[in-house]
């Protein structure tokens, strides 16, 4: 997973392929790389997501808890309708703001 800094306070984690429990190390490593001392918002880019099972959604909960512990907000963009529905089904959408695209997410991160 790639990590990009979009500003001093915001980083993007570009998720590609699958999110399953097998991705735990890669996702947690990306989360560490995205979280510098100044990071206040982590943006998860799901544009390249092709497959996610329930193990994968559990990993997102862990990322969320880590963000909360670091006083960071977690946002998501690039979700297809299918994955938006999964966020809604699991009520993760109540804790992770979903944006329509990177521009909106970046603007929200700096608001």
């Amino acid at each position: 997973m790639d990590v990009r800094r979009v500003s001093d306070r915001a980083s993007v984690i570009d998720i590609r392929g699958e999110i399953t429990s097998a991705c735990e190390d890669a996702l947690m490593d990306a989360d560490v790389r995205a979280s510098t001392g100044q990071t206040r918002v982590i943006l998860l880019n799901f544009d390249g997501l092709e497959y996610m099972n329930s193990g994968g959604i559990g990993l997102l909960v862990t990322v969320l808890i880590r963000a909360n512990r670091n006083n960071q907000r977690l946002m998501a963009f690039g979700l297809s309708e299918h994955y938006r529905q999964i966020f809604e089904l699991t009520r993760l959408d109540e804790a992770i703001r979903m944006c329509s695209g990177e521009a909106e997410a970046t603007a929200a991160a700096h608001a």
Binding site: G58, Y83, Q85
Partner: protein, 255 residues
Amino acid sequence: MASAPEQRAAHDAELAAPRDTAYWAKPVGRLDIAQVPTGAISLNVIGRRVAGPVQGFGQLWQKTYRVRLEGCAATPAEVVQAWKERLPRYQPTANRFFPPVAGLAPGEVVLINAVVQGMPALTGVLVVYADDEAFTLMTPEGHPESGWVTFSAYRDETACVVAQVQSIARANDPVYEFGFCFMGGATQQEKIWTHVLVSLAADFDVQGRVTLQKTCVDPRRQLSEAKNVWQNALIRSIVYTLLLPLRRRTPAPRP
């Protein structure tokens, strides 16, 4: 009958859909049950929303229980298929699971009529995910836990089939949190999942040893969720049971 362009568009949409599409339930506003299984009591389920790890009160724990099915010839898919079919049989007798009439499929509700330390606990869970090698049950409001539990099977590095139960959940409200932390509730729950895996293993002629890994993912309690106690299924089940004799004596209203 759909026109040729409409059929092509539908076919293209089907091809473009992620391959996990069929495995997930659709979002549900409030739980509903089409047909209550025979012998089950449906209480504290219909009309409730699901409650995930974000919505509960207590500390968030991830617990992973595993049993190696050494010598078992079944594939992971065959183990999970058996698990779906025999889910009630693997539970301790005090923990009655009533699978949906339609089977364990995404969007269906499993009713649970349990006895917890001598007290009735009537609730259920929603099947949020099910594929060939795993299925996940998510709790509703009022359930002792707020989160989900995944039942799965896979091959480890030695090609041995491993059956696993993994939960990520918080106590739903302060009453449950007290029970889990100070009244042996957590230990009791661990015994239940251990029993489930031992029963599953026995079905495949394996005397397995269950291992448990637990991690406190979030030690903070979410005080804003203390209000969840209003929907506490254990308390409501006790009241329901106490009032049952009165309900039986009261004649049905005339139409």
